[in-house]
């Protein structure tokens, strides 16, 4: 990537040499080349950070990267052009620019990270950062070259500066994907690289001492302030994404927010993006259609009538909504999800909003942010279909949503002939947990047909299809646009292999929370 290309043009501005101070000692040229190297590395990292955040958060990576690179390079050109306006105190200006890059570049990713969660005009903020950083980086090399001018022969100067510049770019291009992002995450990478810039600035107050005169204390204080801000940022970075998180996820963390209820993390990798709640994968964009078609459509065709009123409990990602809204009979949907942070993300995070086809904007949909169990107590009792899609029962607050008490309450809220589907973890990895959910639903008075399918990112996944009265599992997939589910797939889902078949389990009740205990003991083996 030709990040450093515009630099080549910078010294071409045939300004009269402003010359070092008459009595100045020569500068240590080799050390300044190391400066060039670090400056180049940092500059490219900022560009890569901006491109990555832009494409991850806004989607459409070709456009985002192209926009960021183009703008960055042209901003560097502007910086180079502006360098001719700097006539005096070259060394001082160089250090000031260096510190400005350190500060603006260093805080760019943290601010963009926070900015995405908080403000609407994220793209403007992103491009604003790219422009400012580009201009500042564009200023750096021309100033440095002019400082060395007269001390080194021009052809050597150009050759060495550009060599170190391009070498720095190569190192950045290698470090960024292989070391920085996997180990540090985006936010820390930005802050650490900013610290690199600031360190160069501080070092410069000694290196360039011959050109700085006596007044270096002010510069050093400023450098230390920038370093303090960036170090402070590193300490605060845990609020945005923790060390553990950056290392835990295989892909890059592009969104992380701790709401009052849970930790939402979105990662982005080669195969698309993944959503995690409290560290547990909720879906991977590449294969979620298998999960959500299986979750939704069997229940939509299991009732006595084409469903009009549908209840979704959990499912704040809007993907179950997308599926059930394909059914023309649906007149009203209420989605109850505890966390407004989740339902907001599903409308405001462009890749997710695209994936759920803006299902939250459908006029048939009403969103309620409340605890499903508390809400159900006073809910109307007229639902033709209820889709229950809670996170796995890995704590007691979630475990209560899989109790006999909960299923009884749910059953009492169904319209006559209504149907329910419930996500019930993996019958393969968490066999007792899965059958505990099925048996608990039966103990609550449901007639249950368990079913399962393979979702590559999850493994084998299981559900329960239930009604209050005896019924046969549906034989025909609905006539709506589907990728996975057809009559054959539907029939196959209701068959279980030998290693997934029922095992004896206790019923999950409010006062024993057996399921949480099963789940913990079973998943521990696989993690």
């Amino acid at each position: 990537m030709g990040a450093a290309a515009p630099d080549a043009a910078a010294p071409g501005a045939a300004d009269p040499p402003d010359g070092p101070a008459p009595a100045a000692r020569p500068l240590p040229a080799p050390l300044l080349y190391i400066n060039v190297f670090v400056v180049a590395t940092c500059g490219l990292v900022y560009e890569l950070l901006a491109g990555t955040l832009g494409s991850y958060l806004l989607g459409d990576s070709v456009t985002q990267f192209s926009l960021v690179i183009g703008l960055y390079l042209s901003a560097m050109g502007v910086g180079a052009w502006l360098s001719r306006r700097v006539d005096k105190h070259l060394a001082r200006r160089f250090i000031e620019v260096e510190l400005a890059v350190a500060l603006v570049g260093g805080v760019s990713a943290p601010i963009l990270f926070v900015g995405f969660a908080e403000i609407a005009h994220f793209q403007l903020l992103l491009l604003g950062f790219v422009t400012v950083i580009g201009i500042l980086v564009g200023l750096e090399l021309p100033l440095l070259m002019r400082l060395l001018q007269g001390q080194v022969e021009f052809k050597d100067l150009v050759s060495r500066v550009l060599t170190f510049d391009y070498a720095g770019a190569l190192v950045a291009a290698l470090l960024f994907p292989m070391l920085l992002v996997p180990e540090l995450g985006l936010v820390r990478t930005s802050l650490v690289v900013g610290l690199g810039n600031a360190a160069i600035g501080l070092w410069g107050t000694w290196l360039l001492a011959p050109h700085l005169g006596k007044r270096v204390t002010g510069l050093r204080v400023r450098a230390l302030i920038v370093i303090a801000i960036l170090v402070g940022g590193l300490i605060q970075a845990d609020h945005m994404s923790t060390w553990a998180e950056d290392r835990m996820y295989a892909d890059t963390v592009v969104y992380a927010k701790t709401t009052a209820y849970q930790r939402i993390v979105v990662t982005r990798g080669p195969s698309g993006f993944n959503l995690f709640l409290n560290g547990n994968l909720q879906f991977a964009s590449g294969d979620e259609y298998r999960y959500h078609e299986a979750l939704v459509h069997p229940a939509m065709v299991a009732g006595d009538h084409p469903p009009k009123r549908v209840l979704v409990l959990g499912g704040g990602d809007g993907l179950a909504l997308r599926e059930l809204l394909k059914h023309p009979s649906v007149e009203a949907v209420t989605l109850v999800d505890l966390d407004p942070g989740m339902t907001t993300l599903s409308t405001a995070f462009p890749p997710l909003a695209q994936l759920n086809r803006q299902s939250f904007s459908d006029p048939r949909v009403t969103v309620v942010n409340d605890d499903a169990m508390v809400w159900l107590e006073s809910a109307p009792a007229n639902w033709d279909v209820a889709i229950v899609d809670f996170p796995d029962p890995n704590n007691f607050a979630l475990g209560k949503l899989y109790t006999k008490r909960f299923y009884r309450l749910l059953k009492s809220k169904l319209a006559p002939g209504g149907a329910v589907s419930v996500q019930a973890t993996s019958p393969l990895f968490a066999r007792r947990s899965f059958w505990c959910v099925m048996e608990t639903m039966r103990a609550a008075g449901f007639v249950v047909h368990p079913y399962q399918l393979a979702v590559p990112s999850f493994g084998v996944w299981g559900f329960g299809l239930a009604r209050a009265e005896a019924f046969e599992p549906p034989a025909h997939a609905p006539a709506v646009a589907l990728r996975f589910l057809d009559d054959d797939a539907l029939g196959a889902m209701f068959k279980f292999s030998a290693d997934e078949k029922p095992v004896p389990v206790e019923i999950n009740q409010l006062d024993n929370q057996m399921l949480v205990r099963y789940y913990e003991s079973e998943w521990r083996k696989w993690q």
Binding site: L338, D371, F396, R405, D511, N512, Q513
Partner: protein
């Protein structure tokens, strides 16, 4: 004048904490001291002469029940269930319920005192009837005992304990316990199981609910003659963890330390709620604790007159005459029967024949209960035991707090915590010392105690209301359970019947209900 806040906090929580909260910027916490009938009660006590009732202020009822706590309401409820419709309940205080009363905010109902019962066995007819009336029995188990509605069975996790900066599961601190600690716990369990399954020659268990159904065989009742602490010592059960737990149990249910509790009562706490070795009867609770049962009973008993301080009850030809002070002066009520459902120290002041009798009164312990309103939950540390129904602070003289939103399943957002503080010391001394304490002192104490386990709590508190129960509960000290005075105090005097939990020697809902129903049966049989 009460003690200064600093002294007050020092007294309740211990000196180190007092320094911590005395030094900080004191913020005024909103809330009030809740009236528990003390003013009217003491006015009645200090009355010099029984007032004369003008002729026009006498009226008549079939049965008058004096006292609207659990015992009184149970008596009235059982009478009406069995066909007596001419029953009037009179209550000294503004509201019924006694120490089982509750309150409510826009967030949740909450208890002001007792907050759970133990699921009844099939032979506890009145308790079973009470649950049946509420449609709260969802089936019967293999023993034929009712299965209480899952929604009312205390939601798991029921308990956690704060120790050395962490929350751990349960009440017994198993993390860090030595092999000897665990061996002693196992021996304690075995001893409890042995008493839980013990039967006398007539087949009566030594320990069951209610106390009136327990065996009076001397083998069992001999336990009442030593302290629970001494009994544990004799068994070689000296493990600090075990002894902390047994002390906690005694403070929690009896407002006493194990060293002062009757061994019979101490063992009762553990053995009476066991169904079979290793299996306990379910704990049944509501967001507002036993106030939920109070509300049900109150809805079934017919007229209730509050703010009526009964000052005289006497047997007359053909029934009883009761004189009470209403806000507008004395009133008289003539009835065929009276149920005196008040503590014995009150009965002694109002029942004519008791006034002269004198005798030793049962020991009564004092309690402070606070309801702490929070706009949000304090942060929990990952890896700690999650929030439970009952959250116990090991190194606090308080019992910790119960979350009113736990049972209903509301695990985030605003809530109300009920904080309990027993005074195992001499009741009279405590009452005297705390008589002048104001709301600000109480509230600061409550918040300081909770803030030691939830540092961010002070900013989340929106309100703290406090009730001081000067005569909170009867205490089963050594020798009190099988004391002849107690056992004879329940005998009716003519048409005057007695019902109160202190007639059992321990303050439990089931005991109050048992005496209320017994008094009702006496009337129905006459």
């Amino acid at each position: 004048m009460g003690p200064s806040r600093r002294e007050f906090v020092a007294m309740l929580l211990g000196a180190p904490l007092a320094a911590a909260c005395g030094g900080g910027g004191a913020r005024t916490i909103e809330g009030s001291l809740v009236e528990t009938g003390m003013g009217r009660g003491h006015a009645m006590r200090d009355l010099r002469a029984i007032p004369a009732v003008p002729d026009g202020r006498w009226r008549r009822t079939g049965v008058i029940v004096i006292g609207g706590g659990v015992a009184g309401l149970s008596a009235a409820w059982w009478l009406r269930r069995n066909g007596r419709t001419d029953v009037t309940v009179v209550e000294l205080d503004d509201v019924v319920g006694g120490t089982a009363r509750g309150g409510a905010s826009s967030v949740t109902p909450y208890p002001w005192g007792a907050h759970y019962v133990v699921a009844p066995r099939a032979d506890e007819a009145a308790m079973v009837a009470l649950f049946e009336e509420q449609g709260a029995i969802e089936g019967h188990d293999a023993h034929g005992d009712p299965i209480i509605d899952e929604a009312l069975r205390c939601r798991d996790p029921d308990e956690r304990i704060w120790y050395r900066g962490r929350w751990a599961d349960g009440l017994y601190l198993s993390a860090g316990a030595s092999a000897e600690d665990l061996a002693q716990l196992a021996r304690f369990d075995a001893a409890i199981d042995q008493w839980a399954t013990w039967r006398d020659a007539a087949g009566r268990p030594a320990f069951t609910v209610p106390v009136s159904a327990c065996s009076t065989d001397p083998t069992a009742t001999a336990l009442d003659r030593e302290s629970f602490g001494a009994w544990l010592d004799r068994q070689g059960l000296t493990s600090e963890r075990l002894r902390w737990m047994t002390d906690y149990a005694c403070r929690d249910d009896y407002d006493l330390l194990a060293a002062d509790t009757s061994a019979w009562a101490g063992i009762y706490y553990f053995a009476a709620r066991r169904r079979a070795p290793g299996s306990s009867r379910a704990v049944v609770t509501w967001p507002d604790g036993n106030a939920h049962l109070i509300a049900h009973l109150a809805s079934k008993v017919g007229p209730i007159e509050t703010k009526l301080a009964v000052v005289d009850v006497r047997a007359v030809a053909g029934g009883v005459e009761v004189i009470a002070l209403a806000d507008d002066g004395p009133v008289g009520i003539r009835a065929e029967h009276a149920v005196v459902a008040v503590p014995r120290h009150v009965a002694r002041h109002i029942v004519a024949t008791r006034r002269e009798a004198g005798g030793v009164l049962p020991d009564c312990g004092a309690w402070a209960v606070a309801n702490v309103h929070l706009r949000d939950r304090p942060r929990e540390r990952p890896g700690d035991a999650p929030p439970a129904w009952d959250n116990v602070i090991r190194d606090s003289p308080s019992l910790g707090y119960v979350s009113a939103t736990h049972q209903r399943g509301r695990d985030v957002g605003p809530t109300v915590w009920t904080w309990y503080y027993p005074f195992p010391e001499d009741g009279a001394v405590v009452r005297k010392r705390l008589a002048g304490a104001g709301h600000g002192e109480w509230a600061a104490t409550v918040v300081a105690d909770l803030a030691r386990v939830h540092r961010d709590l002070p900013d989340l508190v929106t309100r703290v209301d406090v009730a001081f129960w000067g005569h909170g509960m009867v205490r089963p000290r050594v020798g009190a359970m099988f004391d002849l005075t107690r056992m004879s105090a329940a005998a009716p005097i003519g048409a005057i019947h007695f019902a109160h939990t202190d007639l059992s020697g321990m303050a439990l809902f089931e005991e109050a209900l048992d005496h209320g129903v017994r008094a009702a049966r006496e009337i129905l049989a006459s």
